[in-house]
Amino acid sequence: MPVKRADKTPMPVREPEMRARDFEEVNEGYCFSHAMFEAERCLRCQDPVCIDGCPVRVPIADFMHAVAAGDMHKASEILRTANPLAAICGRVCPQEAQCEMKCHMTKRFGPVAIGHLERYVSDWEMAQPLNDEVAKPWRDEKVAIIGSGPSGLVCAGELARLGYHVTVYEALHAPGGVLRYGIPEFRLPNSILDWEIASLERLGVEFVNNVIIGKTIKLDDLFSEMGYSAAFIGTGAGLPKFMGIPGESLNGVYSANEFLTRINLMQAFEFPQAETPLKVGGRVAVIGSGNTAMDAVRSALRLGAEHAMVVYRRSENEMTARIEEYEHAIEEGVEFHWLTNPIEVLGEDGWVTGLKCMRMELGEPDDSGRARPVPIEGSEFVFPVDNVVLSIGTRPNPLLSRATPGLKTHSWGGLLVDERQVETSVHRVYAGGDAVTGAATVILAAGAGKKAAEAIHSDLTADTA
């Protein structure tokens, strides 16, 4: 069969029975021949449209051609220049709603596996011998990056390449933000994140953990006392939402953030050798349908839950998770309860015993354009459960804005930025990622970090001119 009419090369994965019991990565990655074959499926469009589907406009066709030519060095350069977090985005981007959706192969044979190839090329790059030399900043100006999630990491890297002294301040004891505390290792191994951070350190970026800007150091003091010329706020959207239904404070109810942080950052799966505990019973209900919900429910399985279920008030069609995570969750035995709205967490002696729900049906589209779920009268029923994990979204963390008079936010908590979408209401303080947009994707945060770095460079250059 001609390559151009072949189906998308499937990602080799570990067997569901095996992988659903540990936290090792699910996807095994392409081998060289997979990659060469898959890259050959690219139609070499005269006017490629895949790039239009990429929030940071990675020149996908160029990197695809380099892979097909077997030039991984060139492919990785093209990728890294456009997207400094390629190894991460190749693993966590919703490609089916971005680049791969645009691919001309999509309708007939399935898209070229752009995400899998992005991962392949980045993994190749990580396997190459490293140059240990640490770059020295050559400019005088210092820039502080607040938060070490995706937007902060990208902003730091871009500024370091431009010669600035860059310090990244992280509130937790390890850098990475949501990439560390949020995304489990079975989807994004810590070793990938550690490699990205180590490469930033080689660019001269300094990482300082255990410092909360707004608490340990006031934002103003970065400028007045510590001599920074600019600061970038990439503090994300880490404040968990609760539903406001009765029983949410019972023991055994977690926010997805707490549940995943205990696992990912604190390694609760190694308890008691690691000392942070997590209570996972036989029946766990996760409320929500995004990637975080999938991460939480699959983590619950891995921690021994016999019934790990997703409870969502809308239907499968309105689910917001990546399709791959959904498919993997089904293979691993996660149960899905669509059109089911939790109305109360039931408990006994302070502990969760059940989740009371109502059946829903879809009505007219709501403000989000999705069909509005409407409760069916008299349909109340109870799931007997030991744990409830709330994964219904997060909001920007107000800690820094509360501590900084003059740092303006929208009523929902997002930081206000100028018409360029980069500078906040405080002079030379920039922001990007979820802290500005509300919870979104890694790639959008990476794009925002890059854009802010360009603006910081241009503004600081103008200041000194």
């Binding site: 509130a171 707490e258 008691p272």
Partner: protein
């Protein structure tokens, strides 16, 4: 890494540390706390800042051995380092001026009152500390608090020092007019059941009371929601909205229940720690 500069043993299970933490010392205010982690794989636990000295860049913490992490911490000596320390966290309390301000400290809670009571005394308030412990040897920082406050009322369960009985009983006597007199405002810091008992006592007398809650928490920045407490029917995060809350509005039953969530796991972690030590 935070270096330990000074260590002293306050009771058989309570240690006081002065540590080198210039950024925290500079930013700290009375009533705030830090979160520490003692080793790789260790828990993150909140500890109240007992005292701070911005000029010397030093903060004081008091640690009572209650679980695996605090036991590990208690084993550290001068010159050793605490792996991670972040802070200052939480908000300083807003204590109204004027009147008789009474701090009620139970067990190691007295330590948490030290710099707060000094700040209030320095502000010119009339201050009393009512501190309680099971027995005389378990009282901590009584002399230091004595120097700071106008009056010190010591209570022990067995009568080995001061008043024989609970802090709430002595508090009730004061409310009834016993010198140093009825409080106008009470600050309660100590074990959750003690704070609940203080709240009940002052509620009956209509005295404004604030309590410093120390629920379980991980990040201390509002990210996990593990420290949520119900105050006046609303869910609050003790790490960022607290740790001080209007005691009369706190749902103590829920807070006590949540604080016991991992009792079995804590025993398991402690057993694991012991067996690891026996092997070594």
């Amino acid at each position: 890494m935070v270096k330990i500069l000074e260590k002293c043993q306050l009771t058989p299970i309570t240690k006081l540390y002065r540590v080198d933490a210039p950024l925290i010392a500079k930013a700290a205010r009375a009533g705030q706390f830090v979160i520490v982690r003692v080793r790789e794989g260790g828990e993150r636990i909140p500890l109240t800042i007992t005292d701070y000295d911005a000029e010397q860049g030093v903060i004081t913490i008091v640690v009572q051995e209650v679980g695996a992490t605090t036991r590990r911490l208690a084993e550290l000596e001068v010159g050793d380092h605490i792996l991670d320390m972040v802070g200052p966290l939480g908000e300083a309390p807003d204590i109204p001026s004027g009147g008789h301000i009474v701090g009620v400290g139970g067990g190691y809670g007295s330590a948490a009152l030290l710099c707060l009571m000094r700040e209030l005394s320095d502000r010119g308030e009339k201050t009393t500390i009512v501190m309680g412990a099971r027995e005389k040897d378990l009282l901590i920082l009584a002399d230091e608090l004595g120097e700071i406050c106008d009056h010190v009322e010591i209570c022990t369960d067995d009568g080995s020092a001061g008043f024989k009985g609970f802090v709430t009983e002595r508090l009730q006597e004061m409310i009834d007019g016993s010198p140093p007199g009825r409080p106008d405002y009470v600050i309660a810091i100590g074990p959750m059941p003690m704070m609940r008992a203080v709240e009940k006592t002052t509620a009956a007398a209509g005295i404004d009371t604030t309590a410093s809650l120390d629920p379980l928490m991980i990040d201390g920045t509002g990210m996990c929601g593990g420290c949520r407490v119900t105050v006046g029917g609303e869910v609050k995060f003790a790490c960022v909205d607290g740790p001080f809350f209007d005691a009369h509005e706190v749902d103590f039953d829920e807070a006590v229940s949540r604080s016991k969530m991992y009792v079995k796991e804590e025993q398991k972690a402690a057993a694991c720690q012991r067996s690891a030590r026996e092997v070594a």
